[in-house]
Subunit: 434 residues, 2 copies
């Protein structure tokens, strides 16, 4: 769509320091799926000349509210919506082995499609415009994004039990061919669910095509201990020894790291994705987020799956990133609010290889969220970025735009499916397993 | 108002075990400010006979959504809304001395009235129907509750600088005379802001009228250390030695406790109010919530003031109570979701001395919230209570009823004041101080 947003406050890259963000007042113009203008609107003649005449589908008076780039949910298993509030209050391994895996064995491909759509709806209510998804039946995940207009990066959850490198290779080619909004990179579930041979095979594939590789890494102390017993080295070092990290990628969680693991992350230009709510809930530990950042390693933020969280809400994750870094570092100012917001948007996008969606700036994809300041939790307006990071809520998401299409506005979904149908499907899927 | 809620799921005291809650299906009838019926509606003849004929002002089809008793925000400084996102990322003492106290010195009584109304609006969006408020100008706090229809328990923030026991005594009689919805109990700011003489005077007053006393207690390690240096004992023991705890009351925060402090809490029937978001933000430490509970001590939940949080959101607090108890106790199931919900409602109400508002049951005050299940974060419906505690958000608060009056519904406030006026006042108050 061609959309003109006017009377807006805009969270944009700082003019003075491109590594920072600032709040400016003005307009954002979207042509098709791309941002073509950000400014005060007074130099529009110049812009018109550059871009031809734009016939607006919508001119939206933002009424002083805030345009931010959409949040990037940089680690999730979206379709696990069916297990939300199903098995809680147990530690990771027990939760996986006794509660999650048996139910997942009953999942069908069509179930994953519908369960993804439910998760996508929740993303839209939280201003999340992109997910980095690892789950069973990646084609179903891709189809759900295709149907709804959502943007997703899919990675394979390769493991000894449910998939093969051959399948990953097929998925890589087929999924990357589906839509500009849907991409695929190789990944594996975790060191403890993959044989060395399987990982060597994945390494050969990723090196052949020069691809990044993603995985759950050092989420629990037990995982690291057992990996060291098995291979005499940390999960990060083990992966590196297999040549899995030659072309970047990174790790989800990364709580229990050795000093030398940081060196590998730096050397291989890897990113770390932190999932604070899930880590709290499963008692995994508190991730050393500020240590990663001090080492110059990019950190994105993920919700993890809805079964271990149990919601998909970037506002809660941002507050937790900030608060838990204080606990970890024994200070009240471990990470600035501005940096937390950057992690949830820019750094997450860059980690995923989606730099075209990392900012509200000319040439970037139009993944934009309107944050409603006309709610009591956003008043008074002392500091908009701090209000968003420390006080923001789903109640503040007035509109979510992905690739220039308005998918959610004022509580209504525009995803081509009736929400009631999605809720009914999700309930019938889990009920059919009981 | 006389309101009939039908087609509802209801979070009510369990029939089998009154100390627990359960979800039942049926109707709730409100006559004036009181709940007069909870059940399936089929025995209505009997109820009509008991209560005369009720002419309904509203009959509300709840459409399968959930009625819960309103949340009790058991510790807050509501009017600190003006300092939201004003001074962040500094530890408690620096925050208080360098940022908060200088601005508070400029506050006028009328400012506190408007800033309270802003906070009350946010409470309504989060399903909070009662606050336990300690702040400057308690009459203004009372008037804001009187004007809007909100329910509040006020306690005095007595200290060496801004008030006297004589004033507290006046406030006690005047405020308790204002409205059934507005109550007052004595309190003091903290051991470190009060002289021994002042506390002895407060003790004499509270003993004369047999009143509970509340205060900030053992919020930081420094506070406890300095108290021990000053008086040779912990804050709790010091208060007890002055006779301040003869008639109950309790402490806010209570993070750094001695073994013997728990004994005093038990012996004096005191309650503890935990404020996890604020504690994270100010790096106070993680409260030993489950230790209090194992000692049989009632624990309520508070947001603390919006300047140190920065939002007023019981959903975020509930998730944090659960998650941080896991961190503290090194387990994934420290406190059950059902117990966290009870803390946020029943235990908070009981701690405040407002047991008439602690449940949806006949004879209780009609403080009721409708939780919207028709949102993606509440689907599928595997476990409603876990969904609320782990996944709930302000977006799920469809209606907030206090004392039988609908104060908030579908995003609209019914508090006798235009929200825009409140936002303008709050902004002009903080701007006038710069």
């Amino acid at each position: 769509m061609n959309i003109r947003f006017y009377n807006a406050r805009i969270v944009a890259p700082s003019q003075k320091d491109k590594d920072n963000i600032e709040v400016i007042k003005g307009e954002v113009w979207v042509k098709g799926d791309t941002i073509v203008y950000v400014g005060d609107g007074k130099d529009s003649d110049k812009v018109f000349a550059q871009n031809d005449i734009i016939i607006w589908n919508r001119e939206i008076d933002v009424k002083g509210n805030v345009l931010i780039p959409g949040f990037k949910n940089a680690h999730t298993h979206t379709a696990m919506t069916f297990l939300r509030s199903y098995a809680d209050d147990v530690p990771l391994q027990e939760w996986l082995q006794n509660h999650i895996f048996p139910k997942e064995a009953l999942l069908k491909e069509e179930d994953v499609y519908w369960l993804n759509i439910l998760g996508i709806m929740e993303y839209l209510t939280s201003g999340i415009t992109t997910s980095f998804d690892m789950y069973l039946y990646p084609y179903a995940t891709a189809k759900a994004a295709e149907k709804t207009g959502f943007r997703t990066m899919i990675t394979s959850g390769l493991n000894n039990f449910t998939s093969s490198v051959k399948e990953v290779e097929e998925q890589y080619f087929k999924i990357n061919d589906m839509s500009d909004r849907i991409k695929f990179v190789p990944g594996f579930h975790a060191e403890y669910t993959c044989s060395k041979e399987l990982l060597e095979e994945l390494s050969a594939f990723s090196n052949k095509y020069k691809l990044p590789v993603w995985t759950h890494n050092s989420e629990t102390l037990l995982e690291v201990k057992e990996c060291k017993e098995r291979w005499g080295m940390s999960p990060t070092k083990f992966m590196d020894s297999l040549g899995l990290l030659e072309y970047g990628g990174g790790g989800y969680h990364c709580i229990w790291m050795d000093e030398s693991d940081y060196d590998i992350f730096k050397e291989r230009n890897l990113s770390m994705i932190t999932c604070p709510a899930s880590n709290l809930k499963l008692n995994d530990g508190i991730a050393p987020v500020s240590t990663f950042r001090k080492n110059g390693i990019k950190v994105g933020i993920g919700t993890d799956g809805p079964s271990s969280n149990n919601c998909l809400d970037m506002f809660r994750e941002m507050f937790l990133v900030s608060g838990l870094a204080n606990v970890k570092d024994k200070t009240a100012n471990s990470i600035k609010a501005e940096d937390v917001l950057k992690m949830a948007i820019t750094d997450g996008a860059d980690a995923m290889g989606l730099s075209e969606c990392n900012a509200i700036a000319v040439g970037k994809k139009a993944d934009i969220v309107i944050i409603d300041l006309n709610q009591p939790n956003m008043q008074p307006i002392n500091n908009i970025i701090k209000n968003i990071v420390y006080s923001g809520s789903k109640i503040n998401v007035k509109m979510t735009v992905i690739n220039g299409e308005i998918l959610y506005a004022d509580g209504n979904f525009n995803i081509g499916i009736d929400p009631t149908e999605v809720y009914e499907k999700a309930n019938s899927i889990i009920r059919s397993m009981e």
